[in-house]
Point group: C2
Chain length 447, copies 2
Amino acid sequence: MAESKSKSKQLHLTAFMRPVSLHTGAWRYPGAYADANFNLAHLKTFIRKLEEGKFDAFFMADHLAVLNMPVEALKRSHTVTSFEPFTLLSALSQVTERIGLAATASTTYDEPYHIARRFASLDHLSGGRAAWNIVTTGNPESAKNFGRDEHVEHADRYRRAREFYDVVTGLWDSFADDAFVRDRDSGVFFDPEKLHVLNHQGPDLKVKGPLNIARPVQGWPVIVQAGQSEPGRQLAAETAEVVFCSPRDRAAARDLYADIKGRARAAGRDPDHLKILPAALVIVADSVDQAKARRLQLDSLVHYDSAIASLSVALGADASGFDPDGPLPVDDIPETNASKTSQQGVIKLAQDEGLTVRQLAQRFGGYSGLAFVGTPESIADEMATWLAEDAADGFTVVFPFVPQGLDDVIDRLVPELQRRGIFRRDYEGTTLREHLGLPRPKNQFFA
Amino acid sequence: MAESKSKSKQLHLTAFMRPVSLHTGAWRYPGAYADANFNLAHLKTFIRKLEEGKFDAFFMADHLAVLNMPVEALKRSHTVTSFEPFTLLSALSQVTERIGLAATASTTYDEPYHIARRFASLDHLSGGRAAWNIVTTGNPESAKNFGRDEHVEHADRYRRAREFYDVVTGLWDSFADDAFVRDRDSGVFFDPEKLHVLNHQGPDLKVKGPLNIARPVQGWPVIVQAGQSEPGRQLAAETAEVVFCSPRDRAAARDLYADIKGRARAAGRDPDHLKILPAALVIVADSVDQAKARRLQLDSLVHYDSAIASLSVALGADASGFDPDGPLPVDDIPETNASKTSQQGVIKLAQDEGLTVRQLAQRFGGYSGLAFVGTPESIADEMATWLAEDAADGFTVVFPFVPQGLDDVIDRLVPELQRRGIFRRDYEGTTLREHLGLPRPKNQFFA
Ligand SMILES: Cc1cc2nc3c(=O)[nH]c(=O)nc-3n(C[C@H](O)[C@H](O)[C@H](O)COP(=O)(O)O)c2cc1C
Ligand SMILES: Cc1cc2nc3c(=O)[nH]c(=O)nc-3n(C[C@H](O)[C@H](O)[C@H](O)COP(=O)(O)O)c2cc1C
């Protein structure tokens, strides 16, 4: 699994930027921009800073509805107003030169012709920097915005997703790379021998083609996948070039890494051409204690009502009667029919970090996924270990608050990673495929 | 119908920029950029030049398939590869400050939640410069790219379009303008009293809402309509703020103008809040003869095979047997069951301009709509007459070739219109609504 170049295995870093912070308290943090998630001037500053830090890509999650929660919790969410990914990334393509631009798009509630076309257009506008995060749409509320009462079933979503991928990639290959001759003298604009009409007819989709746009600069925009279920992993193994995931810890990450790379090999693919980038909250400070204190302060900004609901879900038991300022009453927690692993994880976390019920609740209400909280050196150590142990090929960095949390990563952590020789000092190519070390796909229909 | 300001009635000018020229020979014209329709660097230069000329808007038509023609004709078309409107306009929003950005979007082959969201996002990204050209999709080939064998029926398309408009405008009003309080102390991001859930259920559409983006800067992006049929005109009268049309001549334009403004009045609207902007090819030169010669040269670049097919359609009779270099053999034209008005128009044109069969065919194969061909003075005279006679509120300018044809309009015609006091010397506002003199719609659900 060594890189083709003779240097050590390199980290890839993408920035999770929709929302600008996944932490629900982020907008309240002292000094943070409260409107950062919906302020174009700020977003331009962030993406330029990320490009200065040589990040592989700027990544936008997407939801086809406001978040699925009661209005009392929703009213506290800074994600409720967000830019739509294609429009924002197209705008940002004009204020940057190298950084990749990854948009999430649903295969459940959109049409392959539209999706193929928009990604091709974004790839041309950005000079080959587009990526498509294929999702089947997590939030069931989305269905109601698209004429349905119920979310499409999980298995049906994934079956359509697989076919959708075939149609989109087929449409991208409508024209050979050299189809456009633009011969003024003869008046021939393109060579009709170099046009392929897809004529797709499958169980879920019927799409004639051709696409009305030239083949993307990258051949195909980079394919990203974030599904975690069995069909999600299989889709990733067959199609994805980048996998976003959220493993609990390094051991779980190693298993997932081996599983997905193994599935890719079994599907006849080169596992090096699939990069696994777990999402990780990163909080950088002068000392580990200071970083931990920032995290506790950030967590404390999560409203207790929504926090305690999240803790109850994680425990599989109602936590609303516990003393908020006492320790977790381990003996009083009823047995759960839900996930025992999850309940045990909560108990372990409470004990390891000595958290009160309130702090524990706020952790779950804020951001409870993988986190690197420490100094540039301690975080670089951890990231290097993940990389060396094949637990990851890099990370999808979640910022705690902006701008400071992002600036700290770029100004302090990135130079440390560069000093260790595990992260680029400059971009070597111009396209996102080049940043990620991925080959440009051949056109399926033309040599 | 006087403007509210005490100056004379003002022209509005939008630029038809997808394709950059509607004339099929444009890319072959000497000195023209052959790839202009799909070259971002050129498009940036054009939009900046249009902004220098204080144009109201940059307009993109849209098609959800390659053009509906045999491949022998298609291979000569410079429109076959084009940017997708939302991505291109979002990119261009970052290299301009004032000019409006009008995208065409179909109500037949897209979803109202997606359309509402993208226009809201573009309006925010551009600081209030977005417009939506509502079309029901002209090209029947589009159906085959969206799972259907046949195009949706005309009446069904327009019924859905009307309901689609209600849903989109309802979604834009999901949040009151002042919904986002972002109160760090209390942790309340938005006031839930200022959120409206649409819960739309109609004959064609079921959409719950709310939209996951703040109300657009303009309240609603400007609504544009280009349908010419009876239901098309009615939809325009009820909903449109700008109407694109293609009347044959000034008399036909006056009738259309009176008809649509009358329908708007009957629908309870202020007819001043609906601007009628016919599409017009504009060729500016030092003399009328030189301008006409340029047009003939441009027409001569249209391939004869596709040209003669277009002439046959216009005549309602097969013209392929006629001597290409002789005059139109008027006595040999069989009677037609198709449009007699159209046939008589062709005969009149041939006689008025003394065109050979070839030249006539190339006119129909190139661009046969309304045209202003002359000097800055002669064209300004004509435009002023249209304006004064209530035949138009301005024009959707179609360029003959780029860059020269566009530069001539900005550098020569615009100053002449400004000297006459019928076109702005500078933008007075920042939003497209302000350029067009249109009010900002009130939120339907909040005072
Ligand atoms: C880093 C990351 C980003 C994700 N982004 C999105 C997103 O933007 N939109 C979405 O609907 N789901 C998103 N998901 C959820 C996945 O698409 C998927 O629905 C979820 O992981 C559950 O997996 P499954 O559907 O395969 O069971 C994301 C997941 C991860 C780990
Ligand atoms: C200036 C102008 C621009 C138009 N742009 C488009 C377009 O971009 N996409 C499209 O499908 N139709 C476009 N049309 C066609 C109209 O939407 C409509 O289909 C056509 O005028 C026929 O009218 P009807 O459908 O009401 O009979 C345009 C028409 C005009 C006059």
